[in-house]
Point group: C2
């Protein structure tokens, strides 16, 4: 299993083989064993198989082709609604309409989602996370009829991988992400050392050239994750948190 | 491996056996293969082994005994600082001081943390998540010298389980957390059915009685996760996000 985890890669193209409900349910069962806040389980997952509903969600995910190309899309939601409903039927007043509950629910959702993904990959499935979920939460809320105190946090596409498998992406060396006893802030020379391999990869060099940029960092800051977009989508997501009752 | 994942439980008491650095590093290596935002890896982890530093962090975690009782405490942080430093040394202007970047970094941190945990448990280790991390982020930031654009999201204690192992906790049935095609909101009768088993467990019945409450839900709303505390810790965490530059 450790070898599978080390060799994993994101899968964006899927074979025609369907993912049976029995298998999905087994994986949800495993995922529900993940840790969660006070055993309250502040999350829900919406399973999308229906083609027209995938098409309805696709624009929210910038029409990335795996949304309609995968047999299954799973949307993982921070969910305080179920707990609050339970409390309301049990003569209990839940003060869960706040940011701290949202954070706990995000954490619960992510533990559930990632445990699902590790188990799914162990079973031969491939997955791709959709970071667009927090960009365009409002249309996803509409497409999936999410009530107050439910916010989509992440989504994945799931299916059996199409051949050939994509290459495995690089990662920063462990020294870049692991700090001993306290945070050791980065200097020009430590950054140079930690990013050297990444910056000299052929794919990344081509990426810089194709985009007409001076450095790989500029590809990220000027094209993929611009200040303008980050600030726009920040405002949108904060509006969603207010609208759904968490702020 | 699926069986291990199904049978897992949170471990709060640890044997005297230490966790070697080699093993930790192997697990970090596996965890770093988890998906992340645009392969930017918006996370860091701080490893605490030093007794005095654990003692310094313990009050932030409400002095839960596993913080000083575990050989290792890991604090997982949303980290945009490394990327922004890299960009600054590469003539790139990173607009990463905003809430959307914080959300991406939280998601990245949680994928990394949970992949670590699944792999750690496969290697025979036990873990316990510390939900207190977002309650008292400010003193943790101080204890670990976290700079601007770095915020602790979660922490875990890690070690080999002490015998005997604790009981496995219950979970809600899958029908409570899985929605097909769209969110099916809960009614009095669906809540009654979904919570029946949980509410009739001997441990939970005793929990209600010992706390002098009418219902299990009241134990959560009146004692463990009160409105007053949730709102107080919401304000505190929002202050931390502002202080660290994400809001």
């Amino acid at each position: 299993m450790m070898e599978n985890m080390k060799n994993r890669r994101t899968i964006r193209q899927y074979s025609v083989q369907d993912v049976p409900d029995d298998l999905l349910n087994e994986l949800f069962e495993v995922a529900s064993r993940a840790s969660n806040t006070g055993n309250i389980q502040l999350y829900s997952v919406v399973v999308t198989r229906d083609k027209s509903r995938k098409e309805k969600m696709a624009p929210a995910h910038f029409n990335q082709p795996m949304v309609t190309g995968a047999p299954v899309v799973l949307t993982f939601c921070a969910d305080a609604n179920r707990f609050v409903k339970w409390a309301s039927f049990r003569n209990a007043d839940a003060g869960f309409d706040n940011f701290q509950t949202f954070m706990a629910a995000v954490i619960d959702s992510m533990l559930f989602a990632q445990t699902f993904c590790v188990a799914a990959e162990e079973k031969g499935l491939g997955i791709c996370y959709l970071g667009t979920t927090t960009y365009n939460a409002a249309p996803i809320i509409e497409a999936l009829s999410l009530p107050r105190l439910v916010v989509p946090v992440t989504a994945i596409t799931v299916g059996y991988p199409a051949e050939p498998l994509p290459k495995q992406c690089e990662r920063l060396p462990l020294d870049a992400i692991v700090h001993r006893e306290q945070y050791n802030d980065y200097t020009k020379s430590s950054i140079d050392a930690l990013y050297r391999d990444k910056e000299s990869l052929e794919d990344n060099l081509r990426f810089v050239e194709e985009n007409g940029k001076e450095t790989l960092a500029q590809v990220f800051t000027d094209i993929r994750y611009t200040r303008k977009n980050n600030e726009y989508f920040s405002d949108e997501f904060l509006k969603v948190l207010k609208q759904q009752g968490f702020l």
